[in-house]
């Protein structure tokens, strides 16, 4: 009888996993079927959004049809999974018939939830989806003077380096535009330093001082007064702004909590095997997996590689031995033409090095070649 692996979500984790499985398994003989269920036809590479507000990329650059990225032997279903029955091993779909699985991989990713903070949707911009990034591009183009505030509100959030990158890029971009002297920039962060990873905070702090970027720490907005343009925090402080760029709260898919797989839409998993804690033959990768590292594309990529190896071993009757070790890689833009790079895992903290032009071009080069990653080639 055919063993069916269903991957829910066709983002970085889902696409890499499906293609790695197609590469390793003999899908032609009918023993195994790989199905990807995605709620839209396109695969989106989210790191591109950072460049849209500065006019360096367009929303169209961030997406390609998923069907073009997946191996032809993978069955692609464009539909929305609305329910998971882990006892019956069955998925409920919005349009199509219920679907049985033998192995289920949840790769549904993060969703933005600005509505969790009153006034944020009306009073704030963001660059975490194409519409938001385009709207911010237009606002920045017209922003001649005033107080630009970048506020990290949602924790955890995708691309943990992106808020720092945004203010470094905004600083330099406004200088290029001849407007920097008329714009004050403030960056806010929820804890007592300017990034969750202490070495990254230590790298960024002197660069903030050099660039004249202000910072507020222990700063957790709980309400935005969009009319008065003032942020009110849990700590009882207020900050006035003229242009607010916020990192909105994130949530996972509500069906995950409904299925008893974890809180807030993140699946509780073993951090090495990625197996769900509360159900058999269920796994999670990418933002969906509740593991103690960043919600970053590189995490989804490396998790997908480890899980592909484990699933292939299991299907071929060998004990699975590959483990995800927490490997995370982030390029960090330090302006418009220099960047640094960090690599870390569950045991080893990152060591940021001084930025340079080469790493910036490496980041842009990787972004262009990302589609090879999605295809499972690198």
């Amino acid at each position: 009888m055919t063993q069916r692996i269903v991957i829910v979500g066709g983002g970085t984790g889902g696409a890499v996993l499906a293609n790695r499985l197609a590469d390793r398994l003999d899908l032609a003989n009918g023993d195994v079927e790989v199905v990807v269920v995605n709620d839209g036809p396109d695969h989106v590479y989210k790191p591109t959004f950072l460049y849209i507000p500065f006019g360096r990329r367009t929303a169209a650059d961030a997406s390609q049809p998923l069907v073009d990225l997946l191996d032809r032997r993978i069955r692609l279903v464009i539909d929305r999974v609305e329910g998971i029955d882990t006892d019956a091993k069955r998925l409920t779909l919005a349009d199509g018939p219920a679907m049985h699985y033998d192995y289920l991989v949840l790769a549904t990713g993060s969703k933005l939830a600005p509505e969790e903070v009153p006034g944020l949707a009306e009073g704030g911009h963001h660059f975490y989806d194409p519409e938001g990034a385009v709207r911010l591009r237009d606002a920045l183009a017209e922003f001649e003077s005033g107080h630009l505030v970048l506020s990290v509100i949602g924790v955890p959030h995708m691309c943990p380096a992106a808020p720092l990158e945004f203010v470094f890029m905004a600083d330099e971009w406004l200088r290029e535009q001849g407007r920097r002297e008329d714009v004050d920039i403030t960056y806010t962060y929820p804890i007592q330093r300017i990034h969750g990873l202490a070495p990254v905070a230590e790298w960024a702090q002197p660069r903030f001082e050099e660039a004249g970027i202000g910072s507020e720490t222990f700063f957790n907005p709980e309400e935005i007064d969009a009319e008065a343009q003032v942020i009110h925090t849990m700590e009882g402080t207020e900050l006035a702004y003229d242009l607010l760029v916020a990192i909105p709260p994130h949530t996972g898919d509500p069906m995950i909590a409904e299925a008893g797989l974890g809180d807030d839409g993140w699946v509780a998993v073993d951090k090495h095997t990625l197996e769900a804690t509360n159900a058999e033959d269920v796994y999670a990768i990418g933002d969906t997996a509740d593991v103690p590292t960043s919600k970053a594309g590189s995490v989804a990529h490396y998790e997908a590689g480890a899980l592909a190896d484990r699933l292939v071993s299991e299907l071929e009757g060998r004990p699975p031995t590959d483990r995800y070790d927490g490997k995370t890689i982030c390029f960090i833009e330090a302006g418009m033409d220099e960047a640094t790079f960090i690599e870390f895992d569950y045991e080893r903290p990152p060591v940021p090095r001084p930025e340079n032009k080469f790493v910036h071009w490496a980041k842009l080069g990787y972004n262009e070649s990302y589609w090879l990653t999605a295809r499972g080639h690198m």
Binding site: V155, G196, G236, P292
Partner: protein, 80 residues
């Protein structure tokens, strides 16, 4: 090892957490909870013993107790 009889409403298991870290996990949960909710933050990060009390004081919540379990700490916080 020490003991407590505090009953928490929400347990946050941040043992082994790297980025974004235990304090961020706590802030995220406190943000959406009702006033009076008691949290147990489980952490293996020794810096939590400094940064959690600092934030709790700044945000005007209440640190009820810190329990040392040898291989992790439980920090009990009540939302104001």
């Amino acid at each position: 090892m020490s003991e407590t009889d505090i009953q928490s409403d929400v347990t946050i298991d941040s043992r082994g957490a790297g980025c974004p870290g235990p304090l961020m996990d706590l802030i995220g949960k406190v943000k959406t909870a009702d006033s009076g909710t008691v949290f147990e933050l489980q952490t293996t990060d020794s810096s939590s013993k400094n940064d959690v009390p600092e934030w709790v004081e700044k945000a005007n919540h209440e640190l009820l107790d810190v329990v040392d379990h040898d291989d992790y700490w439980s920090m009990f916080v009540r939302k104001s």
